[in-house]
Symmetry: C2
Subunit: 195 residues, 2 copies
Amino acid sequence: MNESDIVMRNIKAELIKTAQDMIQKFGYNAFSYRDIANEVGIKSASIHYHFPSKADLGEAVAADYRKKFMGTLKEADEQGKTTSELLILYVSLFKQALIEDNKMCLCGMLSAEISSLPKQIAAETKLFFHENQNWLVSVMLRHVKPSSSAPMTDFKTEAALFVASLEGALIVAKGLGDVDVFNKITEKFLSPYLD
Amino acid sequence: MNESDIVMRNIKAELIKTAQDMIQKFGYNAFSYRDIANEVGIKSASIHYHFPSKADLGEAVAADYRKKFMGTLKEADEQGKTTSELLILYVSLFKQALIEDNKMCLCGMLSAEISSLPKQIAAETKLFFHENQNWLVSVMLRHVKPSSSAPMTDFKTEAALFVASLEGALIVAKGLGDVDVFNKITEKFLSPYLD
DNA sequence: GTCTATAAGATGATAGAC
DNA sequence: GTCTATCATCTTATAGAC
């Protein structure tokens, strides 16, 4: 018995992680406090101490996802990577969920369900897409040679199409029941951006 | 009082229509028999006469959607339309849901939720994507000039990318809270196919 | 075919002991 | 912070009257 046996559990973080996993797999309306409680190993009533309502939990999950997602991107950005490298990293963030457990992008799932979500969660979801679009535009503006006199709106649409292709690739891969479809699709629309 | 006042209601069809609408808006796990019952104007217990279980209803909804969707495509196909016209029609089928009531494609929603669905519904969802892919491949094979010696798998991937772009465009438009983003995105990836 | 009545279980949530 | 106990409500579903 030594210090390494004393494991500090961060229940709040575990709740967020488990809820995030279930939303990506099943959707926001398909999991209950009991489901997470069983997974984490506490009672469902105890969750209310950390997150008074399910909407609070959902909001925390979405915010955590967005911050980590954008954090990874900004970090890679500051390392002076090329457009190719940055976009390949971006694609890998989506692919990760799919190969891990046939999961959706968290905010892709939430966006599909957005009309049935508490307002706080819907707002967090929108923030994710806006920040994603901004990041992609900044990458494209800095690195891609602008075709003649392409206006700013073209980059915003190009960024939107890029995210859309990824969210859709997840859905189609799941719908066809073939994970490798994701690779084939992304290879196709990514190729113009590669060195 | 004449014959035109005698309105024949097809409750079963109304149930399917209402359930379809709610799945596209909220997701399969976010509506109840009570919700549809209230909308249609009968009691929730009565629904079980038409659809013994919710899975039966979900299966019927998905099958109905797929058959009407593919029916529209095949019909247009037989009228000898051009690739441009066929693909514009295809895109319009997705756009329709979005502008109508910020809805997803039914099977896009179901595919996102697929891990939480009864097997019959998951199977119907997969069928939709396979039939869509096949239709798109047939259109592309007949009308698009194949680039040099492009193998068949390229068309399957190209078709998958096409569907993915549309499913994703719905998600991103909803996520950005801007329906017009759908138009801008589809215009961008559709343009290479237009005359 | 639709209703009322009812069931068994799940759900998000609260109160209060420890 | 976590527990037990409890709640009101919702969920899918069935039985039987009309």
